[in-house]
Amino acid sequence: MINAVILVGGIGFVAALILGISAVTFAVKMDPREKAVLDQLPGANCGACGFAGCAAFAHELTQNENAEMACPAVNEEALQAISDVLCRELGGGTPMIAFVGCKGTPEKSITRFSYVGPHDCRAAQIVAGGAKACQYGCLGLGSCVDVCPFDAIHMGEDSLPHVDDLKCTGCGKCVDTCPREIIRLVPANANYCVSCISRDSAKDMKAYCQVGCIKCRICENTCPFDAIVVVDGNAAIINQEKCRKCGLCVSVCPTGVIEQLHVQAKAYIIEEKCRGCSICAQVCPVDAISGKPKEPYVIDQGKCVGCGLCIEKCPADAVERLSI
């Protein structure tokens, strides 16, 4: 009995001794924070941060005092945890998601010829520039779907890719993959985006696409916030910082090329609080609010687009969004 105890203890002691000595002799410096940071990163090794995988980025974050959070896929919690580990605040930036800027389904946008070859947009693009007549249109072979590390893009039945907002982390791999640069990153809270990037004129476009931006500028003229512009023959662009999500552009666009990403919650007026000052009725861009002075105003839910201007302007905090 005592033999056994001594023996096992002895072996353990000798081994510990040797290991202890070699731990000193063969020591390799490694920042323990690196592992802590790595644990918080998503671990998808998507490379969107510009480094070769999450481990390399964790190394950069710990070693470089000025390194910013370049990972688009970390959530708030992880970001805070990493900041704690590194003892400095990391700017997260606005979360982005991918947006597909083309609505040209095979029915709406014609093809020039029958393409036969590898089922890959980038490969199709090198054969006579792709089968789609529009040089800016989606080829619909789904290279973006294959490349997504988060399973966030799927080909719809309309032969166009659709982004799953909840899964998309804005890593931008699809953006790099798309040979026609149709996919771009937009703020995750953006509500309206123009689904066309064509620089062709309305005249040219008529021949091959019914759902492109025809540069008519109606949206530009309609937008109450100057958030949407058509410049230099480009398709209309929405400035997401200025956009108040009123959705007027969607309703006026003749080709229906502006897409609504989320449904905006409509506003309603709390009768008890309303003083009947009429400010809301004045600011409403769609004339959805009506009422008599000094009496509670009413919002026409059929007209309201949920832009939220009234909520902001109301001096009595009497307007709120309906919860959806």
Binding site: T111, R112, F113, S114, Y115, A128
Partner: protein, 326 residues
């Protein structure tokens, strides 16, 4: 011009496509199958039919199940079925054949993604699977022409290699086997798998394939030469313990292995250099198993093991680059 096709160059194609190649291999197998039918009769026909049909059926079934396009038209399933049948004893019960077909088509081929993606020869996977799972059924050889004698003990024979192994095992010398009759195995008048018995018929098929440029000479010639030389050296050293090399070449599954199993395009190296390395490896393992192993026959094992080495061989034997030496 909407119905115009636009593809990358070239715009013309050789008419020799995959189904054409598969057809040629099937044609080349016909003499071997006919000899099998001649010597083993109706049971042989039954095995061939069941195996081929089962393979086709399992392919359709699988592809239906996973929603892939059905590719039986390329003839590879039919070929696998035929090859499997030729590697089974003529008297195999139907369920054995069906299990074999299922293993070949599903484990051997389709879990890897179908034709072209499988690392192992599907027919051999099935054969080795059956040999290890059902050793009794798989080594119960029908006697050639026994079906004519119409007796119940039709299932009693042994393959020449089996008999040789027993002789050495029980008596410690090859003398116990008797004299090495080469004509019977050459023509096919021996016990053995349905399709492996006649070296002549398989040789004819193999020559057809080489003539049609479906297979190159590298694998069969190096394989058979390796077996011949290796067994020849052993025989010269000790003729009491080892059988003559020609016997090793003609008897057993070497012919069908060298011409039809090892040359399977998908599971053999792609360059000629690689093919020689592959075939020599097959030869050495075959002889090692035959002479010193527990099994009398080693062709199936050897080819399967070398199949696993193919990726490494391919990496080591790329073609010599044009303009590398100037």
């Amino acid at each position: 011009m909407k119905d115009i096709y636009v593809t990358s160059s070239p715009h013309i194609r050789s008419p020799e496509d995959v189904p054409w190649i598969m057809r040629q291999v099937i044609y080349a197998l016909i003499p071997g199958a006919l000899v099998g039918i001649y010597f083993f009769g109706v049971p042989a026909i039954k095995v061939i039919l069941i195996s081929t049909l089962a393979c086709i059926m399992f392919e359709i079934l699988w592809q239906r199940l996973v929603g892939q396009p059905i590719t039986v038209k390329d003839g590879s399933a039919c070929l696998t079925g035929l090859l499997l049948a030729m590697n089974l004893p003529a008297g195999s019960p139907w369920w054995l054949v069906v299990i074999g077909a299922a293993v070949a088509m599903i484990l051997g081929k389709h879990v890897y993604g179908g034709l072209g993606n499988n690392p192992f020869n599907p027919a051999l996977v099935a054969r080795v699977f059956l040999l290890i799972s059902f050793p009794v059924h798989m080594t119960t050889w029908a006697q050639p022409r026994a079906f004519l004698s119409n007796t119940a003990d039709a299932v009693s024979g042994a393959t020449p290699l089996g008999a040789l192994k027993t002789a050495i095992f029980e008596h410690g010398t090859v003398a116990a086997y008797g004299d090495f009759n080469l004509l019977d195995p050459f023509l096919g008048n021996i016990g053995g798998s349905l399709g492996e018995i006649s070296a002549l018929a398989l040789l004819l098929g193999g020559i057809y394939l080489i003539g049609r440029k479906i297979i190159s000479w590298h694998i069969p010639v190096s394989y058979i030469a390796t077996v011949f030389i290796f067994t020849g050296i052993c025989w010269l050293i000790n003729p009491n313990m080892y059988a003559p090399p020609l016997f090793h070449v003609i008897a057993g599954g070497l012919m069908i292995g060298a011409f039809f199993m090892a040359t399977d395009m998908v599971t053999s190296p792609i360059t000629n250099k690689g093919k020689v390395v592959f075939a020599v490896g097959c030869g050495v393992i075959t002889v090692v198993i035959r002479l010193w192993g527990g099994y009398p026959e080693g062709v199936s094992f050897a080819i399967l093991i070398m199949n696993a080495f193919v990726p490494l061989i391919n990496k080591a034997t790329g073609p010599k680059k044009f303009g590398a030496v100037s």
